[in-house]
Amino acid sequence: MHSITLVVNGVVREATVPARTLLSDCLRHHLGLTGTHVGCEHGVCGCCTVLLDGEPVRSCLTLAVTADGHEITTVEGLAGPDGEMSPVQRGFNECHGLQCGFCTPGFLCTATALLRDNPDPTDEEIVEGVAGNLCRCTGYQNILKAVRRAGELIREEA
């Protein structure tokens, strides 16, 4: 067993986990943050995407022990301290960018990093930016619209 310390959504969290524990399982089952979903457990679908020191990673392909000492942002940490949804979350809400919602946390984390680095992406950059995440419900039309809208909100509020 290994004792690890993670900063999750700005809060210091400690966990004792076997070495083989996936970061996704650690977040979900040890820390109770079930917003991060697991769709394939082999790094293809992107549902489990979280931000590790700000960068999107597949938490199902990351061992929890390797995240020791690092900062992690999950979907639960995207909203403001007052609970107001982030521009990316609001973009998805306005544009009907989700249906069953299972892949959504991965898209939100991916888009959050994408728009932080490039708040005014072209349509091609948006497609490319979310092309590592699978959605089985929306046909991506409204996800692309939502990311575009989120960019607008970020620029308006900057």
Binding site: P18, R20, T21, R28, H29, G32, L33, T34, G35, T36, H37, V38, G39, C40, E41, H42, V44, C45, C47, T74, V75, E76, L78, A79, M85, Q89, F92, N93, E94, H96, L98, Q99, C100, G101, F102, C103, T104, P105, L108, V127, E128, V130, A131, G132, N133, L134, C135, R136, C137, T138, G139, Y140, Q141, N142, I143, L144
Partner: protein, 796 residues
């Protein structure tokens, strides 16, 4: 002011929860539950000789290991055959855990329960099952040809055989009509396996309350009420002691309407047996090899037609691969064979299908449920006729359309609900006109020529479909207005992302004249509503939507009656706006719905200030009649059911422009256009979303997705790395237009929209590729390598 919310693009009420990580999907529940895992057959066909669990006993955290021999009574019997049919003469279902013989890779053999999933899987890896290999049967033609049987007592591997025949108006059968036709064509079509593949797999979590002797089961299902009945019956628990809840469900697309899955029996049984909470969440590999697939068919077509391309006789023979068992009956090939006719009237029609056992995963409905195959068949036929006659493909379709003045139109067949296939309404010529305009059908030749000058190869294609939606037998709705003025709506069917919490609230808010924020909706929870069928066949909006509307009307009638008493007015002069009942034209004479809810329930005991009004000395009811009148009930609530005479028929037409790479044979969709008619739309935002998602799955089915079985029955691509689903880069921009021909069959005039998007896509893409390449496309999906080979075959 309350606005009319029905028909408005209202933002979804589910979203804030799901966007902030507050959704509750199956594996988010029961964090302290024991975990189940399964040893599954690695062989497609084998006899179990021995199961040795001794190696697993030392695993730390192991709680229990179960095999078939441990299952008591009905739990050890074959699972139910959900939809019996007289033509399914040899229906067979699996045992929850394999008994003696395994018939597909992935069939569960041993169940392990341990402290967590990691440990449960450790134990699974240490269990040794000794098998005697049997020869597997893979592919429908092999199943018919080879002497090997999937089930020893099913001769020829044929589970069902069904023929439906509709003679022409002059009484000729299809064979005779084809024989006499000026032109005839015969050809074969091949359709591969695909699967629903929701991003959340299946999952079950069960809690047994030993004190109360009651069971609560959470399952990621499309039918919680029916799982409840199956669990109660199989485990011998009184129905009132079983609750089944579908929590947030991460997509279904059909695979979760199949039930009870082995795990839906085994997990509750283990929870009862162990007196502990038990949970199983399917992993992706399990989903590939232990959940259902769909689509695979071989079709043989004979068609006779006249000089205008009008079909005089059509004879289709379908070989349908239903996998190793038939728990869901023969619904899929029935739908293929009936919905094949689409928006067309054909002279004489004969369709015959054989539903065939193979040593592969079971086949149960996946979005479209047999329709994509039927539409593929009919639309490939239309294109071949046009090509044969040198006519425009749209004109050939138009020549065969049922006309707007011919509704209701009886196709003369029996549909999947056991009722006549009678179309209720539609306007196919107008749909085609809109589609041709949207895609630019008539100006395409110039575009193609322009592209050709640049060395590019373009093609255009189209496809039409009719979809029977909202099949019975029924759904119900319950609506309760509580004394705080809130409106609580429940219906028994479940949700998997369709936005039911929003659209049902829109219906209730519109019917009752209350603000949307005051309405809450619960679906798929048997504690709230016990009678339901399920969410499939694009039926939720039609069935539960209408049931909820009818329940609201009951509530409204009662509210107006009580308000009329209180206001000393005539109920006919009252209306409800923004949750307040008022005399039309007199703003002073008004009473809030909340107060009416208080008055509707005569009280002895006040529980707050407001409720004093309803107590016995407050004079709420005249002393000369009972507080609750005869035939009346306390409370402001209503329950009603919607049970239609038959399905309602949505329709649509799609068109695409594709570009095929002359060197690599890669297919790129340049434009995709949809004209869609689902009657009156409750929420256009949600309807569009449903279409988008369907089209994306259709693109997957047309170009990418297939389950690749080898001759040993091994699924070679059981992961997302090898089973290719479209990402954002593979789905084109989808252009949509809507036509609304209301259904005359239901009070809201609506038709289903859930499956529509997927239905014609393979046909449309094949049509466009065929146009680009100049030779017939006879299979779906079509990979670049296959197109490359086809070019070689055709010397192109």
């Amino acid at each position: 002011m309350t606005t009319k919310l029905f028909g408005e693009p209202v933002q979804r009420r589910e979203d804030p929860r799901l966007l902030t990580g507050q959704g509750r999907y199956l594996d988010d529940l029961g964090q302290t539950a024991l975990a189940a895992a399964f040893v599954r057959s690695p062989h497609a066909h084998a006899r179990i000789k021995d199961i040795d669990v001794s190696g697993a006993l030392a695993v730390e955290g192991l709680v229990a290991i179960y095999t078939w021999e441990d299952l008591p009574g009905r739990a050890g019997q074959p699972l139910p055959l959900l939809i019996p049919h007289p033509a399914l003469t040899h229906g067979r279902t699996a045992y929850p855990l394999a008994k003696d013989i395994v018939r597909h890779v992935g069939e569960p053999v041993v169940m392990v329960v341990a402290r967590d999933r990691y440990l449960a899987e450790d134990a699974c890896a240490l269990i040794t099952v000794e098998y005697e290999f049997l020869k597997p049967v893979v592919g429908v033609e092999e199943a018919l040809r080879s002497g090997t049987l999937v089930h020893e007592d099913v001769p020829g591997n044929v589970g069902a055989h069904l023929v439906q025949e509709v003679p022409s108006a002059d009484g000729r059968g299809a064979a005779e009509a084809i024989e006499a036709a000026p032109h005839t064509l015969s050809f074969r079509l091949d359709i591969e396996r695909s699967a629903s593949m929701p991003l959340e797999g299946r999952g079950v979590y069960a809690r047994w309350d030993a004190d109360d002797r009651s069971l609560r089961v959470y399952t990621s299902t499309q039918s919680s009420t029916s799982v409840r009945m199956a669990v109660a019956a199989t485990l011998g628990i009184p129905l009132p002691k079983v609750e089944v809840i579908a929590p947030d469900v991460g997509g279904g697309f059909g695979v979760k309407i199949m039930h009870p899955w082995p795990e839906e029996i085994l997990v509750p049984w283990a929870a009862i047996t162990l007196g502990r909470e038990v949970k199983w969440a399917e992993d992706r590999r399990e989903h590939f090899i232990a959940s259902a697939h769909e689509r695979a068919q071989v079709q043989h077509v004979n068609v006779g037609f006249d000089d205008q391309g009008r079909i005089l006789g059509l004879d289709v023979t379908i070989l349908h691969d239903h996998g190793a068992y038939t728990p869901y009956g023969i619904i899929v090939p029935i739908i293929t064979s009936t919905q094949l006719l689409g928006p067309y009237r054909v002279g004489a029609y004969r369709v015959e299908f054989s539903s065939i056992y193979t040593n592969t995963v079971i086949v149960t409905p996946y979005r479209g449920a047999g329709r994509p195959q039927g539409v593929f068949c009919m639309e490939r036929t239309m294109d071949r006729i046009a090509r044969h006659l040198g006519l425009d493909r749209a004109d050939v379709r138009a020549a065969n359309f049922i006309q707007p003045d011919q509704f209701p139109y009886d196709q003369g067949l029996i549909f999947q609900d056991g009722r006549p296939l009678i179309y209720d309404s539609g306007d196919y010529p107008e749909t085609l006109r809109m589609l041709k305009e949207l895609i630019g059908w008539d100006s395409f030749p110039e575009r193609r020529a322009e592209a050709a000058r640049q060395g590019r190869r373009l093609g255009i294609g189209l496809g039409c479909y009719v979809e029977g939606t909202g099949v019975g037998p029924y759904e119900g709705g319950h609506v309760q207005v509580t004394s705080d003025g809130r409106v609580h709506v429940s219906t028994g069917l479940t949700s998997q992302g369709q936005g039911h919490e929003t659209v049902f609230a829109q219906i209730a808010a519109t019917e009752l004249g209350v603000p949307l924020e005051r309405v809450s909706v619960v679906t798929g929870d048997t504690r709230r509503f016990g009678y339901a069928v399920g969410t499939f066949a694009s039926r939720a909006a039609v069935m539960s939507g209408n049931a909820i509307a009818l329940a609201c009307r009951k509530v409204k009638e009662k509210a107006l009656r009580i308000a009329a008493d209180a206001l000393e007015a005539d109920p006919r002069d009252l209306s409800i706006t923004d949750g307040v009942i008022h005399v039309t034209g007199d703003s002073r004479a008004a009473i809030p719905l909340a107060t009416v809810a208080v008055l509707s329930n005569p009280l002895r005991y006040a529980f707050d200030e407001e409720s004093r009004r309803a107590t016995q000395f407050a004079g709420a009811t005249p002393p000369d009649r009972p507080p609750v009148a005869e035939g009346d009930e306390p409370g402001l609530e209503g329950r009603d059911y919607y049970s239609p005479i038959r399905a309602t028929f949505a329709s649509g037409m799609h068109a695409a422009i594709v570009e095929t790479d002359p060197d690599t044979a890669e297919v790129k969709i340049l434009r995709y256009a949809v004209v869609h008619d689902c009657g009156k739309m409750i929420n256009p935002l949600i309807v569009e979303g449903q279409i988008h998602g369907g089209v994306a799955q259709g693109v997957g089915g047309a170009l990418y997705e297939r389950m690749v079985y080898d001759e040993h029955g091994q699924l070679l691509n059981a992961s997302f790395m090898d089973f290719l689903m479209p990402y954002a880069t593979e789905v084109p921009h989808i252009e949509t237009a809507h036509l609304e021909t209301p259904s005359p069959l239901n009070p809201l005039g609506i038709k289903g929209a859930g499956e529509a998007g997927v239905i014609p896509v393979s046909a449309v893409i094949a049509s466009a590729i065929e146009d680009a390449e100049g030779f017939p496309i006879d299979r779906m999906p079509l990979s670049p390598s296959e197109l490359f080979d086809l070019r070689a075959d055709h010397g192109a």
